[in-house]
Symmetry: none
Subunit: 201 residues, 4 copies
Amino acid sequence: MRKGEKRKQELLTIAYRMFITRGYENTSVDDIIEEAGIAKGTYYYYFESKEQTLEEVIDMMIKAETEAAKQILSASIPVPQKIAAIISSFRPSPEEQSIEGALMQTENTLMHDKTKEKLYAAAVPLLTEVVKEGIKEGIFSCNNIPERVRMLLVVSGDIFDEGRFTGRDVDVFIDMTEKLLGAEAGTMDFVRGLIRKQKRK
Amino acid sequence: MRKGEKRKQELLTIAYRMFITRGYENTSVDDIIEEAGIAKGTYYYYFESKEQTLEEVIDMMIKAETEAAKQILSASIPVPQKIAAIISSFRPSPEEQSIEGALMQTENTLMHDKTKEKLYAAAVPLLTEVVKEGIKEGIFSCNNIPERVRMLLVVSGDIFDEGRFTGRDVDVFIDMTEKLLGAEAGTMDFVRGLIRKQKRK
Amino acid sequence: MRKGEKRKQELLTIAYRMFITRGYENTSVDDIIEEAGIAKGTYYYYFESKEQTLEEVIDMMIKAETEAAKQILSASIPVPQKIAAIISSFRPSPEEQSIEGALMQTENTLMHDKTKEKLYAAAVPLLTEVVKEGIKEGIFSCNNIPERVRMLLVVSGDIFDEGRFTGRDVDVFIDMTEKLLGAEAGTMDFVRGLIRKQKRK
Amino acid sequence: MRKGEKRKQELLTIAYRMFITRGYENTSVDDIIEEAGIAKGTYYYYFESKEQTLEEVIDMMIKAETEAAKQILSASIPVPQKIAAIISSFRPSPEEQSIEGALMQTENTLMHDKTKEKLYAAAVPLLTEVVKEGIKEGIFSCNNIPERVRMLLVVSGDIFDEGRFTGRDVDVFIDMTEKLLGAEAGTMDFVRGLIRKQKRK
DNA sequence: GATGAATGAGTATTCATTCAT
DNA sequence: GATGAATGAATACTCATTCAT
């Protein structure tokens, strides 16, 4: 069982990497077992189906991101920084994005989509908590926090996932964030410094 | 030529309906020709490939939506109403959404995705114009209009496309819209009346 | 009729060029009509079928080659030179061979094969005549001329059509020709000068 | 592994027979699996593609022929007989030729062609060796042996593969062989006895 | 725990040919 | 003479899944 668990982790990691780089639909079970060096039967010993593998891969990914986000939540950094850090902890890490990123974006729509709701479900509560913290500190002031926070995530996803955005996009994003959370103008300005600007194609 | 064009329109309409209701991936070329009552060869006489059919279907859809939006643009209704009407003219019509909507959402990710950027490309300029109109009228006040307008579309897509939103979502959306465009509080309140509320799942 | 004949000649020439360069199997009727700028129906007005087009193309080709060979036959050049010239007049001209030659050789087996027998049928009688001339002149001495002449063609086809032969191939070919026709050693030596040597791959 | 290998041999044998009798292009994968009584997937479990199957079939055939030829090489029979036997061991066996031979010749050009070079590559070295043996014995006398030997194969292929040749063809072939190898007249006469004469069509 | 041989439904695409206008 | 819309049989190949060993 111990051993089996470990093996499964390995397989999940391999599947994860392949799904990200080549896309779920473009990765066949044969591809996975070849990469893993195991037999067909072995794969189906560990996974019910390919789709369920995807599910597990996504859960694994979100779990890791949630873990990271929780660290940030309890760190002793200013609330606005926490917001930015948590949001970005739920973005695919640059290495993953870039390997064969071009392909992924066009082709890996399914995975992207399946991930989205689960990601919101994990991220919204955490961000909600931070915003509440900010309200207590008097930095933010707003109601309907989960809904606001979700919008933040949705917009940041649109802007940053594609990897093609302009300085104006960032400006508007910052402005929107401040207004959405009822913060003073300038509160989120530091975000600009975190971002290496890229031109939207 | 006349004849051919008409036939192609019919086929596009059929394909459109099938892609929407069953999903692109779940609609085989065989399904389409059976529904259309034509031979395999006839399909490939009109379309280069299944994927190109999708492209044409999307273009056709966006073109129709753009047409509708342009009508609104030049109508003599208040600017805020124009904004709302144009945004909603770029949403899939309720009939289409509902037929077998449940399936569609999960499975039709590809079409959804391919549509998105084309839709933004068509909608952003029109909305930008309306916002400028609003600025001239002194109702709105903001810079970076295209970027702001895109965010509006992104967020409205997230909230309304799924068809599961709460009153709070609408409240926040209205608030965000007003703040994003630099309008007075209450300017977009009328939107609440346009929407039949639904509970987020 | 006049006009129609001309049109057909054009089509044949186009088909010929396409069959040679892309191969018969790789050239669709659609390809031909596109290149020719005519409609499907028009093609089938002039040709019974694609296969029959091939037949006509080959006949046209052989007819042209035969024409050339006949010129040589009646020219006033030494008999050995005639032999060499006629043989080479029945080889595909270098331009045709080279355009996309690599492809052609592998893919255009069918055309090559269909051509072969017709080519022999046309070439053997002409060469036979030249050899007889040579015998009369006392240069050659042999029986079963048509059979010998065919062997010459077969071997020259193997060696020269592929375009990859060595000096040794040429030496042996010359030796064989002389012995097959009962000529003195050295009679065909001049052939060496006609050939730009290439290494067999 | 044992099992798999055996199965593959069976499939190769079936494909071989079908390619020979019906032609490669006229044998669909469906035909093969039906004949073999296996599923589509099984076919593609053993073969990468139909074309690769052809390749393997040819290799298998040539390997068998080479095996037979090697037996002859080391047998204790006179050198001229060896030459004839080896050449004929590289010809398709009569049963194969005849089954639906008429069809095969016209249609199976591709297989024939793919076979040719591989066959020469296998046969030339063996024949070269025999000729060297003959030279040592003082029966033959010539240089450029591989080139001469190839010509023998080319010509014998043209004459005997089609199955339509006359006594005169055989006479000339014998004469040519003797002269090509520098043998005394009469050395290869015995060949006449090996051949059931057929009229060239 | 692990294997790998076997499955078979599913799919997009090609292309020579016909025929009413 | 010429068109081009319509045909439909044919075909190679994919891939998630099963199961006896």
